[in-house]
Symmetry: C2
Subunit: 343 residues, 2 copies
DNA sequence: TAGGCCCTGGACAACGTTGTCAAGAGAATG
DNA sequence: CATTCTCTTGACAACGTTGTCCAGGGCCTA
């Protein structure tokens, strides 16, 4: 009786051919197949042809999992961001992908949904896969959990927000300066009562932009009233409520500063329903904002992504300098909504 | 003299601890560590504690590359789309990611940039990584190169456009019906001269939408003139030129049908500069389209992505029925631009 | 023709994990 | 006290590839 096959491989779906199979079919040694597959020198044209024929006949494709195990590098990098569906992150991710591609690496994406626990879970899963490098838009504010991984050689770049309690490369936008310029722009157009609607205070960019807001008003000698400022989740309901509150009452604001693209979108909707003409400046550019005449503080997501990725690959190529902190400038783009005078 | 270390591992960066190291430190066997790491039963609480201590002390993290090699499944899926920066694909990708996450899988993204060769390159790279499944928004029209891979067990779902010369699961939007409804809407508002600006004719959705356009006009007894139709790349310059041509001349069109979101965006810009009021219906919804009053044929990118991913995982869970072809409905959303009467 | 060199090809171990299997300790049973 | 049974544990091979090293054959030179 024939011995029954019961190795795990036998039960695995597909049973793809391996180099061993190709070698047997071509009548050569295993290593020779490896050489052909990797275009290594030292194989006669004739042998090479036989191997290629066997490869085609069997439908062989190299198993990169095994290759990775042997070589120690996965040629892949991980990108953990907040939400790939957010129009800010699509272009950012695409820019990272382009750089990765230029370096022969694939990109694994994950969305943290602004949840620190989920961020950590994702990042550690990527580390277990042994990605060569990581680009993280932090959700949490403590990244010491990454220390062993970084020490073990996983290059890491933090983007958009600084790393928490960990020394690492960072690529940030000038949130403070941008917000300050935007609010100053409103002041320059005569506004004295300016509302600020931003993201949750645990998010670094939110507080930086708020700081910029305060700085601009202080510069102008204006004392901020509590009711002008609202931080919190940026879902439409919350933002709408906040905006409507600022616009109601005996002394409503005459202008709004929106802390990010999601806030801007909702603010535009609210202002469209408002009978007075309220000025608006938003942080982050938005598609079609030109047609809607929305004045924004623009930061180029693609540049942010590309810069981060380039720093990452420089590390992977061996750059050993101390962690750097890059701050990218923002740009005020006047389109009308920010130039409306106070009512 | 001590023997010089020269194994490749010695030169590898980091030299992460392995289960063997943990085992040595905890004074247990290798397999016991494996059991603890994978929460397998049959380990005394005391042993388990010792192992955990060793893991923490060494900063061990399981190497999933090795795990994958042994188990044959990578718990990852690949998504090849056209351009992650396109606002249609962000939400789609995110929806796929959510489903993958629910199944414990990671997502590897790639953009084909609408280049068939790049699509193939990406897809095959993902196959070499042995992703468990693939979701592909095809750029090319011949996918026979995927046959050996699919036969070898890589589940594949094609999205948005049908697979070329290969029998596989597909999730499509009703491009024909959607375009037909959109154009009929314009006809119903009195238009007889309607322009169509769409994507390159080798893209399936482009020709389907054009077919819907023709059907609606034929239904209305209108004979389409050549000058009303323009297919080609959807970059702003080309679209702008096409739109301006249709709006010039002795008998200009009184309405435009835009074949996708990029075309719509440019069309809106062109129409904004035009002195006459031209009607517009666009395929795909756009952020802030409500505020701009743009009538669209809406297809929900997230639903498309989720549906595709669910089908994929059903396959991975063993579903063996013949390939299915799912067609998702579209929805006409009147917002003003489509209801403008002919000048 | 002998000696040396280069070029091609293959045997073998190793990468870090998991599946299989067997051994040993202890508890339970007669 | 002998026997069986259960439970924990570890030795070992295997996953498919690549790096190392050696063998054999052909060619050149002296």
């Amino acid at each position: 009786m024939a011995e029954t096959a019961r190795h795990p491989s036998e039960s695995r779906y597909g049973n793809r051919p391996t180099m061993k199979d190709v070698a047997a079919r071509a009548g050569v040694g295993l290593k020779t197949v490896s050489r052909v597959v990797n275009s290594e020198p030292g194989v006669t044209p004739d042998t090479e042809r036989r191997v290629h024929e066997a490869i085609d006949a069997l439908g062989f494709r190299r198993n990169d999992s095994a290759r990775v195990l042997r070589k120690g590098r996965t040629a892949s990098i991980g990108l953990v961001l907040e939400d790939l569906a957010d129009p800010f992150y699509g272009p950012l991710s695409r820019a990272v992908e382009e750089v990765a591609r230029a370096h022969g690496a694939l990109l694994i994406n994950g969305s943290s949904a602004e949840d620190p626990e989920r961020e950590q879970e994702l990042v550690l899963a990527l580390c277990a896969r042994r990605v060569d490098g990581l680009i993280v838009i932090p959700a949490g504010d403590d990244h010491r959990y990454l220390e062993p991984e970084m020490k073990a050689g996983i290059a890491t770049v933090f983007v958009d927000r600084p790393a928490g309690r960990v020394d690492a490369d960072m690529v940030l936008s000038d949130s403070f300066g941008g917000a300050r310029a935007g609010v100053a722009h409103l002041v320059a157009h005569g506004h004295r009562r300016i509302g600020f609607i931003g993201d949750q205070p645990r998010i670094h960019t939110a507080t930086e932009r708020l700081r910029g807001y305060h700085a601009a008003l202080t510069d102008a000698g204006i004392t901020v009233e509590d009711s002008w400022v609202s931080l919190g989740p940026t879902d439409p309901a919350r933002v709408r409520a906040a905006a409507e509150a600022m616009l109601a009452g005996p002394e409503p604001v005459t202008a709004l500063f929106a802390g990010n693209n999601r806030v801007t979108v909702t603010a535009v909707r609210v202002l469209a329903e408002c009978d007075r003409r309220i000025a608006l400046v938003g942080f982050d550019d938005i598609e079609l904002a030109d047609l809607l005449g929305i004045t924004v503080i623009s930061q180029d997501a693609a540049t942010v992504g590309r810069t981060a990725a380039e720093h990452l690959f420089r590390r992977l190529d061996g750059a050993a300098h101390p962690p750097v902190r890059v701050e990218l400038p923002t740009r005020l783009v006047p389109r009308g909504s920010g130039e409306i005078p106070p009512a």
